[in-house]
Subunit: 397 residues, 2 copies
């Protein structure tokens, strides 16, 4: 049984803040500042170039990949870290399309991250073979799976509403029509149990700075099913994905397995911070996290709906169709969220009208949720958001 | 006049080490551990998601890009940081090829980084239009510039030998045949004066962990000439390169200027370490750095050649044809370099037989060079490298 008081104590949470935005950027593990400082001083400072071997920097993308893999149903050697999620989407989609060269449709849905759509758009343009990016509504995905579809590319949990696709079912349906799947786990890794092997997923990608708490700009990850790992060609064929990077051959030869999805020099300092976050994940069982997430979300929905009739639930009401976040629609959601942040309840806003709240049992408990709901009730009931300073938009919200 | 004693005092250099590998990984700026710790604690820890605006994280890739730009002859707004060098090579080459759609040859030379060749190979395969990657010897590049050539893609200073291309001359010749240029500055940014504007370069890319001292895994940079910045399309069209990333539109619209070369979430912790290195660069004039680099290299060549007849100079003898590194060929170069490292002289080895030494005036002085040359003389004359333990190869050397 996961000791959530113990995991909560491992995070540095600011006084007076109720942080419901761990689905956007997780908080600081208390161990990170000292560990990063030690890495800088003792590893970079003292070992210099020899740190790549002596401190194990070069092996980190696979070693940490294995640790992330445990949270998403992957075996060791099937996940590697690096780059950003957008880059990993490009690699996964390129490799997936290469497996189905005769088809021309990439099927996705309107609940996917815009960035995933942009990366797909850029790749399809680069391929120049007339591929179509077909965007349907989330509930129409199953019906849109025809034998035209080369790749089904979906984000498992919708970043806006929290709607949760059934990965196993859609993967089975995709395979039935001869399509290959690319799953974006940005809002599922560390949020809900993911079983890539059990679902038969082909490719998966995700980031480590949301529910995994790796810090701003933490590296992304990519999973390649073992049946594809020896065939999948990364369009981004960098030297660290080469079979023998330090032989400095002029011709690219893909490395073994998921190694080939490495590209350039790994971000060692970011990976060190991420390690501290994964140490906390080692204390948790993702099934316990899910059970507690459901109970926190249910409590939150009940409290907010009871006090705030002006807010409309945007997330699925059924827990089994919802990730670890709860969203409400409200016309003045931007201003309302700014007012909440001013009161110490940090969620975020997604255009056009979504107020989004993430639930992260590693460091949130029932008392936090009740306190947050009480502040939301006050801000909404007393229209405390209706002030000019809460309407000023900055670059990131 | 640059105060090199002052710049040297800003680095944390281990006792008993003569570090001649700053062309591979620069050393730790003394300010970095405290500054990174402060960023982790006060920014990530206290600001959480609001750090993207409040701490200026989102603006860092352009702000630091401007600071790197000053060292390479670019104006503000022409350089942006992000990703790895390999990814930036892909973006620059894709954008360059898009400007010359009717041609099918990418010209490069055998002195280019293998990783640049691999990335080009992957891009040309992805494009699937029958492009040829034509690799000639460095001295044959000028003659190989024909009107078949779409893009001339070169690394300005050869990572192995230190041979320095004439960027202005080759760019002029490339333009004369209607080709577009992509310059890799990995071994020139912070090593020698670079004048991208003056040379009329089209695209340039580089890394910040070598001569710029940004730390292991520090982000790469990309320069786009202003005449192309509004036209060049990044194949990697990520959300942070979108004109309005936080509007979450489904269609990609490239941002203004070099902004569009941004892809995903920037590596904030790495950028914080890089900032400390750029603070030291603010104390230096690159012309002073170059003058001192030449004198250190000349001294090193003279001392080593006088004592070590078994070593053959692999770098150009003429200073004006050489970057800020000196390489010698030696059949047992791998073992010899291991023996040097065991004695505290850190250089590196590049297959098949190159012993490579980097010269970095920000933290190396004449006494260091004399001391290193004396140790090299002893190791070579007494064949101290000829022991089994120096022949064991690890992953990174």
């Amino acid at each position: 049984m996961t000791d959530f008081a113990a995991t909560k104590a491992m995070f540095d949470l600011p006084e007076g803040v109720l942080y419901l935005d761990g689905n956007s950027l997780g908080p600081l593990p208390k161990a990170a500042p000292a560990r990063v400082q030690q890495m800088l001083t003792d590893e970079w400072g003292q070992m210099l170039i020899t740190g790549w071997n002596k401190a194990g920097w070069m092996a980190q993308p696979m070693a940490l990949g294995d640790r992330v893999g445990k949270l998403i149903g992957a075996e060791p050697g099937q996940v590697v870290l690096g780059d950003t999620l957008s880059i990993k989407v490009y690699q996964a989609l390129a490799a997936a399309l290469d497996l189905v060269p005769e088809r021309r449709v990439v099927l996705t849905d309107s609940g996917n991250f815009p960035s995933d759509l942009y990366m797909a758009e850029g790749l399809l343009k680069t391929l120049g073979k007339g591929h179509e990016l077909r965007i349907v509504d989330p509930e129409d995905v199953a019906d849109a799976l025809t034998d035209e579809v080369a790749v089904l590319m979906l984000t498992e949990v919708d970043y806006g509403t929290g709607r949760w696709h059934d990965m196993a079912d859609l993967t089975r349906r995709a395979h039935a029509v001869g399509a290959v799947t690319v799953w974006d786990l940005a809002h599922t890794a560390g949020a809900v149990p993911v079983d890539l092997s059990g679902a038969g997923a082909d490719f998966a990608v995700g980031c480590t700075y949301k529910y995994l708490n790796g810090g701003p700009g933490a590296p992304a990850f990519i999973y390649v099913a073992p049946r594809h790992a020896g065939r999948a060609l990364p369009a981004l064929s960098g030297w660290l994905g080469h079979e023998a990077p330090f032989d400095f051959h002029r011709k690219y030869r893909p490395g073994h397995g998921v190694d080939r999805m490495r590209v350039g020099t790994p971000p060692v300092i970011q990976m060190t911070a991420l390690e501290c976050a994964l140490d906390i994940w080692d204390m948790a069982d993702i099934r316990d996290v899910r059970a507690r997430s459901v109970s926190l979300c249910e409590l939150f929905i009940a409290e907010v709906e009871a006090a705030c009739p002006m807010l409309t639930l945007a997330s699925p009401r059924a827990a089994e169709r919802r990730g670890s976040q709860v969203s409400f629609r409200f016309e003045d959601g931007f201003a309302a969220m700014q007012a909440l942040i001013a009161r110490g309840v940090i969620g975020d806003f997604r255009a056009p009208d979504i107020m989004r709240f993430g639930f992260t049992p590693l460091y949130l408990d029932e008392a936090d949720v009740r306190a947050a709901a009480a502040i939301i009730a006050e801000v909404m009931t007393d229209r405390l958001w209706d002030r000019p300073e809460f309407r000023v938009r900055a670059a990131v919200t």
